[in-house]
Symmetry: C2
Subunit: 302 residues, 2 copies
Amino acid sequence: MSDVAKAAGVSAATVSRALRGEPGVSEATRRHVSEVAKRMKYAIARDASSLAGGRRYAIAVLTSTVSPLLAGAEGALRQAGYDVLLYVLGDESSRSHFFNANPLGRRVDGVLLLKLTLTESEQASIDDLGVPTVTVDDTDLRDSVKVAVDHLMQLGHRDVALVLADGIDEEYDEILTKAGLDVPPEWTVWCSPTVDGGEQVVDVLLDGPRLPTAVISSSGAAAVGIFLRMQRDGRVIPDDMSIVSLDGQEITRVVGLTAVEGAHREQGEHAVADLLTLIRGGEIEPADQPIRLVVRNSTARV
Amino acid sequence: MSDVAKAAGVSAATVSRALRGEPGVSEATRRHVSEVAKRMKYAIARDASSLAGGRRYAIAVLTSTVSPLLAGAEGALRQAGYDVLLYVLGDESSRSHFFNANPLGRRVDGVLLLKLTLTESEQASIDDLGVPTVTVDDTDLRDSVKVAVDHLMQLGHRDVALVLADGIDEEYDEILTKAGLDVPPEWTVWCSPTVDGGEQVVDVLLDGPRLPTAVISSSGAAAVGIFLRMQRDGRVIPDDMSIVSLDGQEITRVVGLTAVEGAHREQGEHAVADLLTLIRGGEIEPADQPIRLVVRNSTARV
DNA sequence: CTGTTAGCGCTTTCAG
DNA sequence: CTGAAAGCGCTAACAG
């Protein structure tokens, strides 16, 4: 920087101010300095800058998986002038590794946690960083179920089956019931969240006294399995049965299933906006996670 | 750090050496210092550390898209003790934005370019950083075709159709011909790289005098479309026709298609290894991009 | 508007 | 093996 200052005939402080767009520099000087800097291919050393200035212009993004949510967050952060330090903490070993090493030491202005469930001590170690933190959880399944039910009822469906991935044990029937739907117990079925799982579900349903006019599947892969098995059975989707997936995986898009999606990119961008507000010392209020119904070709009027 | 030094009864220099595992500290001292540091929740300030030390322990990863390749690279880098600065430079505007701002100023020890095609001036601006750079390109389609053809011929297929995504204009027939395959021109077809596109391809093939015993599809989605349409037509895959996808998208996995995959994660890890070698002043030699045939349930003996 | 002067929190010689 | 001192390249007060 002092080389640039010398070449431009000003002090280092002026170069610093000029290049960062700080007020207190005449337009002429600023232009001149910028030109000299560009000519000399000079770029501010960010470490030194943050050391002296206190701001780091970097955000740590901890995520369980590389996803569109991440893409949205990254874009928003870069636009705001922040660098993204990425940590993919999917499995246990990388998690413990990370929290042991604690590589964030005074390196970031904030932390974004994406679809990550932390233990208390892990959360504490994040809190110890003393910087603002925003968490984005998985979209609540109950909300998704509700959106799907509304959609199906609007299409006149009354006989709806609910396909849940193994391990989901909450009571969703209630939501269907509340909406005024008949829910015979044999129409709540569990399966593995895979294509195979979905195919088996069709067998189960076919064994019953009659087929529902629609199914809601918590798993995208299972929804695809249901779709494929029905089709191979010579049945037509959505004429013979409507399908709604509660998981907006790419596969559901590919075979054209109606799906309830968390608006991934938007969620990421929204989280970033919150984080930046916190960094600037503002307050945020919890907002609903955006949920979106994407109607494709697997749902139709009864 | 000086607080920790005081608390531990040593100098700051010793704390620094102890915490970084530098030689020249007695084991006893090191243990003691580490304990005190942990108790005081002290973590080295990385900016100050890199300012003073010259090493930054950060790598910039520029990528066109958030992908498994990125996940692989991130994992390998973190394991090596490097932080990842992520820049998703998919569209033109974010690209120009990035290269204007040039936010990398002496902030990283190296750069990883993933599936990104840069203009000359962009490449130059990366080179100006003066740090090692490694590029990972898209796997060459020709190599993939070759792998697929080998697989099919081994299964006894001689009547193979080639389904290319619109926009692909290179001559791949040649590869088939060289391998000794018959390639009537009507068996090279183009379609949009979507499920719909694949379904239409089946219509085209059914219109012909006879069906090929196998198809190779450059697009994963189109391959799925072919699969679905055949199935709906009452035909059984792979008995009636084998399908190979040249794109290892997740969807191909989900419906169980045989696919030629660039080994994404592995590619990322390999690139990181190369980059680290360069950073340490070593030499690397160009290696083949790893390609992998994943045999699932869509290919069988004629 | 601009320059001068102190550091920011470390690492690294160089002595001891 | 350990400590003291001298910066790393910037920014922020403070003067002018």
